[in-house]
Symmetry: D2
Subunit: 176 residues, 4 copies
């Protein structure tokens, strides 16, 4: 269930669903997607025992986090356990975050109710890990990638989204 | 005269000077910077016998060329010979372009009038090769880098510039 | 406790101690070091939550396994858990071996009796992970490295050991 | 005429032919292959305008030169110009050696008498660049590779050859 090479998935723009999180690391409070309205959100899904996530996905999320201003771009890691459930305990994820020195908030996806796929992963219809979802300042999904994507291309997409002003209408509604 | 690691150079924005070109490759006609008004321009300077240019600069220019839409971003290579003048004949540059399969236009910078630094390199005050200059849709220099810069950062900068509309005033003056 | 860059550690040659193994993967029977006499042994120690092991150590062990003839060189992985004991369950190691498609035998080091360092790691005085121990056909330690070492250098060392005939005297004594 | 990926070429062992050299760099005197008898010789052929040579071949020759003891292994670069003859002047090769900081002796192959292939390249039946020829202490060709080969494999081969003693008979005949 992992991509050999990254692909952008064609998607009609749609409002990003709220995530469902069991536990947060690197944040002393729960973070709601709705609370990030006005900023671009980069949601990077990974698994600690997925070679592509470890070799490409996680380092890329870290680079995105280091490259953009937090006021413009919020980077959120999502640990979406859909395999090896018995192995991936909370202690494993904690050790991973410590050893790989992740500084961005990492959400542990809530377990699925009727199968191995966790809730947020299902809501976003992710096809595996690593996955990357780009959400604009108005909370709309603009890109969705599965597998490693070139840095240049990711940079271009996030840079373009960060250059967009939030739409007046949506900004208003998000305030109300 | 080459950077060990890439740096963005702080610069006040200013109008990009016209380049001075001795010969063009991959273009059947001379390209004027003024003729690219309305598009973002990525000007990538390199030298065929500069290890950093060959290993990082040229492949990055090629990736930029492959990533952005030509209608938004014009990628121009500039061979700025400031060393090894006797060695770098036109035949060397031609063989290099062929062997490295460069598809973007490559300008051969005009020789300097009173020293080893060629004219365009001097006008842009480049510090060596590889150098990268980002020019916005209005013809204003927005970034200037010396040495290899992360793809993610370049992507972000070019993506942001491509997302900007040309300013009305400058667009008008460029038409006039 | 991990090396930023690999180093060969100076060591007087000495007879390699027998390892102490809790469990074997990729082998349907326990493997004794003494049973490998006559072949060069490459013992590669790693941990699943050690970034250097995952990025460099394990792929290098795999390449060594693919490069040399089994009749000449026996490649043995050693999972030496000296950190994150609670996290690194057998299920984690199993999932890792499966996901990273390791084909060489992997030994789980026996837990230490009075501290976090496991038994084989202690006997070999390894300084951390990844570590690499080269044992000649006579069972003598010839090299001991901590941290990633260049492939060329490892290849040269193993190639030279594989080219040595086993010494008559030691061969005899190992039979006796 | 270049390999996409490296291959060892099957060859019956045979005595390495003497090379024919137009000019030497990094040596103040001509070096005869016969004068290297007793040492392993690594002959690395490259071209300055060949992307595979520049990216893989030349850096690998340099690493081999840095890894082995000169008393055991002699590393010789061979610039085998078989393309772009007009472009590759001596000034180009000199600038390349300086810019890439090559420290090992580099021989410029003698031009072919009736075609584009230079003499040494023809005598060794090299198929292109980069090529690597491993010659044992007795002057016998033991391996011949075209295209980039893994460092581990090269290290193993050279390490094994360096571990072999020169044969008595051949040593004698080389003295006579």
């Amino acid at each position: 269930m992992r991509a050999a090479s990254g692909v952008w998935m064609d998607e009609s723009p749609k409002v990003a669903p709220e995530w469902s999180v069991r536990h947060w690391y690197n944040s002393d409070h729960p973070i709601a997607l709705s609370g990030l309205r006005g900023r671009v959100v980069v949601l990077g899904a990974f698994q600690v025992l997925c070679p592509q996530s470890v070799a490409f996905g996680v380092p890329q999320i870290r680079r995105i986090h280091e490259t953009f201003e937090p006021k413009d771009v919020a980077v959120i890691g999502l640990h979406a356990t859909f395999e090896h459930h018995a192995a991936i305990t909370r202690a494993v994820i904690e050790a991973f975050i410590q050893e790989y020195r992740l500084k961005f908030p990492v959400a542990i996806d809530s377990p699925g109710e009727s199968g191995p796929i966790p809730l947020t992963m299902e809501r976003y219809r992710m096809r595996g890990t690593p996955s990357l979802v780009l959400i604009d300042r108005d909370g709309v999904i603009r890109k969705h990638a599965f597998g490693p994507i070139d840095d240049l291309r990711i940079g271009a997409e996030v840079g373009a989204l960060a250059a967009e002003p939030p739409s007046v209408a949506l900004s208003r509604s998000s305030v109300a």
